[in-house]
Symmetry: C2
Subunit: 364 residues, 2 copies
């Protein structure tokens, strides 16, 4: 292989793929990045067998070939250069890299052992604006479960009946549902994407370019203009989450999001040793937030709200509440509830921003 690439483009490509490369991999080849030529352009690939990324670099191909290079070494080396172009030559498992002023030889491995990142063939299920997908991910991803005993909850559920696209995540203590509008959906969508893929996707998307989603039975591919991300789909059926969303309420509070976030944050310092348990009391157009710790002390604060329906009270895990408030993306919010044994529902106030958070109550 003999190729010539622009360093700026090479850096962007490496930064897109090298997070997949973990030094924790027990299979040494997975610590490597594959550089290969394909259809007269240069492609960088990395995979951890669960998720794989291909980045299409362009570049000038003088002779075809491929080599794999330890990802961290390659990234550190390339990112420290600040010239315009680099020439790469592979020979007997060694990559020779030359710029105008420097030359390096980096020991690699033959490309034969590098796992093939499968192409997902099939119809495009949906086409979605990059920034809309990135925002949807950041609004739901924190709610996935990290408990491997229920694998279906360790990913984000993509669901569509052919109209809008919904992204859902839950760890069974709280749930986030985002409905993304303005998506062109051509088929029914129903699959669960592992959180690692979701996090990579969130990191990699940096523009409003259209992203195509293509899925087979076991795999999903997100197709960007200069890269694709291929991931396994989590097997199994996502729980019928819609049934737990309460439909009728006894109490509704309209609250300034930042004001609530602020006192919940303070209260959470006092709630740490008590499973983050904070108590909220709704009465007389005020919310009182309270946290008690036998060791540290206790805290109480009030903020104004617009209350309709009955006076009420409920206890939440402060962390789940703060996560939801951070995801709302709205200055004003509503908190709706039935009673202290039913889940609370949090939404942006006014205007349908498509985001709903459900938080299970704690016993006090």
């Amino acid at each position: 292989m003999r190729i010539s690439i622009l360093l700026e483009k090479f850096k962007r490509g490496l930064n897109a793929v090298d997070r997949i490369v973990s030094s924790k991999n027990t299979l040494p080849i997975l610590n490597n990045i594959l550089i290969k030529t394909e259809d007269n352009q240069v492609v960088l690939s990395a995979t951890d067998l669960e998720v794989g990324v291909n980045y299409y670099l362009g570049g000038k191909v003088e002779s075809e070939g491929a080599i794999t290079i330890p990802g961290k070494v390659l990234s550190n080396f390339i990112n420290s250069l600040n010239e315009e172009k680099i020439n790469l030559l592979s020979n007997n498992g060694v990559l020779s890299a030359k710029t105008e002023k420097s030359e390096a030889s980096i020991n690699g491995m033959a490309p034969d052992d590098f796992p093939i990142i499968p192409k997902v063939e099939g119809k495009t299920l949906a086409e979605i604006d990059g920034m809309a997908l990135k925002q949807a991910i950041s609004q739901v991803a924190f709610s996935v479960s990290y408990d491997e005993s229920r694998p279906v909850l360790t990913g984000v559920y993509f669901k569509s009946d052919g109209k809008s696209l919904k992204l859902v995540a839950t760890d069974s203590y709280r749930l986030a549902e985002k409905e993304v509008v303005g998506v062109s959906v051509s088929e029914k969508i129903d699959f669960i994407v592992p959180i690692k893929t979701i996090n990579e996707l969130h990191r990699i998307i940096t523009s409003s370019e259209k992203i195509k989603i293509i899925a087979s039975e076991n795999q999903v591919m997100f197709l960007l203009s200069d890269m694709d991300i291929v991931s396994r789909i989590i097997e199994g059926e996502y729980p019928d989450y819609e049934q737990i969303i309460p439909k009728n309420f006894k109490t509704k509070a309209v609250i300034k999001t930042a004001e609530l976030a602020n006192i919940v944050k303070t209260a959470s310092f006092f709630a740490k040793e008590n499973a983050n348990n904070i108590k909220m009391n709704f009465a007389g157009n005020e919310i009182t937030v309270e946290a008690v710790s036998s060791q540290l002390g206790n805290f109480k604060s009030k903020i104004p709200c617009t209350l309709s329906g009955e006076d009420n009270e409920i206890s939440f895990n402060a962390k789940y509440l703060l996560d939801a408030l951070g995801g709302l993306n709205s200055n004003e919010m509503t908190l709706e509830m039935v009673g202290k044994l039913n889940p609370g529902v949090i939404k942006p106030s006014g205007g349908n921003l498509g985001i709903t958070y459900i938080i299970m109550p704690l016993r006090n």
Copy 2:
């Protein structure tokens, strides 16, 4: 104790003292911050027995008293508030804190067990501009030793014969000497300040205010306008470092600092498994930097320089060289040397900026 303080001022004070409070302390009282009234103002204090900080808050004292509160709890709580004022009341080891909207009770401990931070009495040895001291610290502190087997090297040496003030640090592999000018020195100075105190001092100084240095036999005090830092002095005699600074050279290179830093950084990735060993060759107004790694590969790069004297070569630990280049604070630098078995001397080029780095050579 019953006091009233401005929250902004309280936050500044806490942020100044709370780094001393380590949760690693085995003596529980050292995890606490002392709040006390003194001469009708409020004082915050923290100590780890090696270094202590007193911050003078001002504030309104309604009744005298004192209490100690776990530092992390107090900082987290206070920093999350964004009102104007806070009222504090201590009662039976509990601190009641009230703002307009919130109230908290925080469990503390009686102040009697809190170690006394000694006042250092004596003449002011020197008065130095805050930013000049902060810069001097950042230029030398990275060269101290973390090897407890030679305690005198684990601190920064302050030395003056009554004129300028010198700060010196060495780990016996490299040495940094900074001469601070424009200091008013009234006495001979000769003591070693522990690196922990030095780091705190660097963090705490944020302005050009005059800082007074007062020392007794075992202790030194840095006196700022609203706080003082009191530290033990490291016992023992600092090595006669001046004798190792070479006086005559065979080779002198004038180099653009950023250009050298850039290629040394790249070379260092290849030098890691070889004790950071990089080789520098000086010939024909060029420096060639080389690093070889049997496992990763190797790297070579050239940069221009203005060379006088003999062609030469020397090997350095890339990390020590990068530390020195980062500390120079100068676009252009000189590297002077005798031969590959003698230390190299690095200084800013042109204009005396008072900073000198000595780096011992590595065998190649």
